[in-house]
Symmetry: C2
Subunit: 140 residues, 2 copies
DNA sequence: CGGCATCCCGATAGATACTG
DNA sequence: CAGTATCTATCGGGATGCCG
């Protein structure tokens, strides 16, 4: 993509207030990938193809069932591809599609935000809870 | 941002596997803002301060209860600030904090992705469902 | 107008057992 | 190994009512 085309796209989307943080559009993407596991799996698979059991071990806390369901929905949306190798111990690998990789970009942005601001949030919560508990009593 | 700076940023983030799509870090941010309404509200408030009832009308489908709960949690995390104007008809406005505004950026990236790819997802689902033989819901 | 408390339902997701 | 099926519990979140 050319520099100019990219700049154009950004400016266009920023300039049109109908797109800027449109609640309905945002809702649509959240309904699709805003569940508990989709983005996690997209993130993991972004590093390379993985097998079912491998994902089961790597995704912290996911169950067999949810892994199956989430992978199916991702496959359905064309974000992930399922590849079957008909071997003697049957093997199945999942990989991100080129389309899925385009989603990986904004996801990474979100992950980066999370990494950068975990401490701030923790501190804010602490302060808020303390203030609420003492009903704003700030006398020494 | 310059072409070079952008390239640098991408390479740096891709090169550091400690940050790249860490499942736990991603989970932490999803636990905070991955619920049904947080990102919607952040997005709405990004455009400017809004009153409680105003948000109630503008956020599509939110209930009184969930608006209250979500605003509280956002306030607790320091993403949103609650401002009370002691007037004759009491008035309360919510606004994004500077900290909240930093989150607004990755959220916008996600919204843009959604807007750009709604049609693709719809098509993918249709194709998948047709192939599998079962019918699922449509993309709103 | 702003916002908490109560009740209740349905979706989400965990545990377990079974199949190819 | 790679799932599927079922059963169940939890809880997010909607509806409603009350209160400042």
């Amino acid at each position: 993509m050319s520099h100019q085309a990219e700049a154009d796209r950004v400016l266009r989307s920023l300039g049109r207030d109908c797109l800027e943080h449109d609640p309905d559009v945002l809702r649509s993407v959240l309904d699709r990938v805003g569940d508990k596991w989709s983005l996690i799996l997209i993130g993991l698979l972004d590093k390379g193809p993985m097998r079912f059991t491998e994902l089961l071990r790597t995704a912290p806390g996911i169950s067999r069932r949810m892994l199956t369901l989430t992978l199916r929905s991702l496959e359905r949306d064309g974000l992930v591809k399922r590849v079957i190798y008909p071997e003697s111990p049957p093997r199945v690998e999942y990989e991100v599609t080129p389309f899925g990789r385009t989603l990986s970009e904004p996801v990474l942005a979100l992950t980066r935000w999370a990494a950068d601001n975990q401490d701030t949030i923790r501190a804010n919560r602490h302060a808020f809870d303390k203030a609420a508990g003492f009903d704003g009593d700030d006398l020494g």
